[in-house]
Symmetry: C3
Subunit: 335 residues, 3 copies
């Protein structure tokens, strides 16, 4: 008999106690009552923020024309590439115009220039101008990103072609998004650059703040756990490995105990530097000189002269052979 | 002539050798023969586990009403928010009822209370009761999560508004999922909490066990690589950076060599503590006292008094200038 | 009046300045002009690379038959499993044949054996043979992966059943993809293995090169930040925690300054070894002997005898009590 089937077979058609469901309207009121004007985690009645999905689609479309033929469109050749690029540029123009317009309006609101949607400023006209400026930067972005692909090939013995780099290297994926986002920072587009790099962070485990500046031929290998702070300055031909932090020393606060925002808090890494896995370099006055090498797991808060090698001194380890080990005391280890 | 096209142009219509395809039925039998009753990696003939996709959808719907107006639904205002919340609550009720019912049935089976689907227990009725309890906790969840958003704004000089935090900070995303999952742990819902936090782990690189307890105003910056163990106790106004491990010392085993499960294995972090990048704090008896600061890359297995600062002593480094470096011996570095 | 609505309400129908849009064709030409033959980041006019989406679908389908009943297909039992496996095997055969064919053709092109699509070699016939070989390995893959699931259960006190491991442990997910990819490496399939493990890396933060060799009963707990290099050799019953690097010392270059590729650069980890969080083990001649334990955050570039325990010596820390701390100098910490 059908009705004797366990109720989960019916999927979403839940055999629930109807009296209990009668609580839901009151519960809804209770939740809605928590959406107060001074509540910092609602965005009701305000103009829409940029759409996360639209911003991700913009990045993917930009990658389609930065690296034609690799991922979403195949079978491209000299006979059809013009049409592909033309239609992608056209749709990028429209999407960027809308999303940058939203970001500008949001920025204006939080700066207190207006309370809400009804303003006279034509944010989309401004958005369009910025969108076009970004699109004009694509040839230069391609030039720089080709140097990054070359640096990955040159720096990784497990790599066989730059095709692999473009196709599936997470470091290159993160650098691509960073370079797009940084271009938007240079064009004074708010909010969207950080959305882009946080999406890349989610995909790759590599967190590059869009405000950092980075020279040509940049390579990050493996990359999970890399953090590059907002005010870092990185030269050309720099190579980083997984887990490297280029971070700040403790933050300065003003007389009211508020953080001081906008000063140089993160290090400068000169041309040709290599930083091995899990090294930590901290501080806005810290400069790692040209062609220096920072070894794995090193922790540095002071400047290093050019062409210097810094490695961990022989590690301070406690080594215990089998004969000395008792079953009961396995020492201090970590889950 | 069409037939001269390379066969990959035909996509999935493979020009394969038909005689070779005749191996497939025998191969299928061979694979099916490995699905034996004592096989630990099949789930045949058992009641369905909670659906991964359904659980992710539940989390996304909960975020829609925890943070109205940010992501999936835009254009919400005081005139329409009630309808939006009402319909989301209604569908959450149904989805949670089904999925919690599945988790309870699975739990019962592995505890040996029944072998399979045909049982008298009404798991969905239990699931419905727990679903309603979770929904009643939403106002309290909103209160706590607003403190977490505030803590992120207060603690990050690169942050301009709490909107950014809600919209794209991975630490806040991981804490949101953790707080939902921990509420389910408190309601004794099995299996689903871990599914939720492992999804957050995948998205953010932050692994917070749903069993840990965490006070208000919790902030994790950058976050990739953070691990917070099952029995951690974390106070209010605590701040962690990327790569921090709050872990266990080596595990105790019983007389049969089996791990002892369920004891306090992970540290206690009191109110106001800050733990900088890649620090490791281990052990169930380790207590980091109120307002202490644990520096970057520090490794601790003992308790620290309140208001104490612990940093790495000047690092034991070997520094070699350019003149001393020979081309052949570049020292010990890491890919 | 409709026309007074702010233009963002119209979504993608942008109220942009039409004269500005007239720049787009010239901009398109400018972009297309950068796609030159010596450009390393375009793939125009070449045969298609393997499809990323198709390769991901192949991995998901393989998981459907490696772990029947867990994720995408539910309600499977002894009465219907044969049909499910049979149809999945059939579609896997076709998909693998096409994608391996593409990878072989690409490999041949970059090795200079042909310039482009028009070649006589029947890459799909070769692809089909390799596809069948992979499918014949499924029973052996299931045997090994069952040992990995068991190792996870045996090694994690927070784990209640192997179901949890299969369903949501990221370490197990990464090992599953690695074992599939490594089987393809053994069958000499190019390009696709790395695509697979980079997808797993993105999902889990765990980067296992498909060329590494790994014995039975392998467990990686938490896992974010783990890097296992191409020439690692790992024995049976090995357990790794988050942030562990099994890496290379600095790379050798040849007389032209090019990296030498293909030598053993990464360590050997013998049976029964445990490596705790964030430990770094480097070098192709480094052997960690049987049943040794490497403690959290340890950094090793030399071999370790069997049954040896290596932990950090009492950390070189600077501890400052509350009385000694001035408000102005908070010491050196990290964002």
């Amino acid at each position: 008999m059908i009705s004797s089937l366990p109720s989960f077979h019916k999927g979403i058609d839940v055999a629930s106690d109807v009296r209990l469901k009668e609580q839901l309207p009151a519960l809804t009121e209770e939740i809605v009552a928590t959406y107060t004007p001074d509540d910092v985690i609602n965005h009701l009645g305000h103009c829409p923020l940029p759409s996360y999905e639209a911003v991700v689609e913009i990045v993917l479309s930009l990658k389609d024309i930065l690296y034609p033929g690799y991922r979403r469109k195949v079978g491209l050749h000299s006979g059809n590439i013009r049409y592909h690029v033309g239609s992608t540029v056209d749709s990028l123009h429209d999407q960027l115009t809308v999303q940058i317009g939203r970001a500008l309006r949001h920025e204006d609101r939080i700066k207190g220039n207006h309370d809400d949607c009804e303003t006279e400023t034509d944010y989309e006209a401004k958005g369009q101008a910025m969108a076009l400026q970004l699109l004009h930067r694509i040839p230069e972005l391609r030039r720089v990103l080709a140097t990054d692909a070359q640096a990955a090939y040159d720096g990784d013995p497990a790599c066989q072609t730059t095709d692999e780099v473009v196709f599936c290297y997470p470091g290159f994926a993160a650098i691509t998004v960073y370079r797009i986002a940084h271009t938007l920072v240079e064009l004074s587009v708010p909010f969207i650059p950080r959305m882009m790099t946080e999406w890349a962070h989610q995909m790759t485990g590599i967190d590059i703040h869009p405000g950092a500046t980075v020279g040509d031929y940049f390579f990050i290998d493996h990359g999970t756990g890399v953090v590059i702070g907002e005010t870092c300055e990185i030269g050309e031909h720099v190579k980083l490995y997984q887990g490297v932090t280029l971070g700040a020393l403790s933050f300065k606060t003003d007389d009211d105990g508020q953080l001081i925002r906008g000063t140089k808090r993160h290090p400068t890494i000169e041309d040709g530097v290599v930083v091995y896995a899990n090294a930590t370099i901290l501080g806005g006055n810290t400069v790692i000189g040209k062609d220096s090498v920072i070894g794995s797991s090193v922790w540095i808060t002071k400047s290093v002269s050019p062409r210097t090698t810094v490695v961990l001194e022989k590690p301070q380890l406690r080594v215990r052979g089998a004969s000395e080990t008792s079953g009961a005391d396995q020492g201090n280890f970590q889950i």
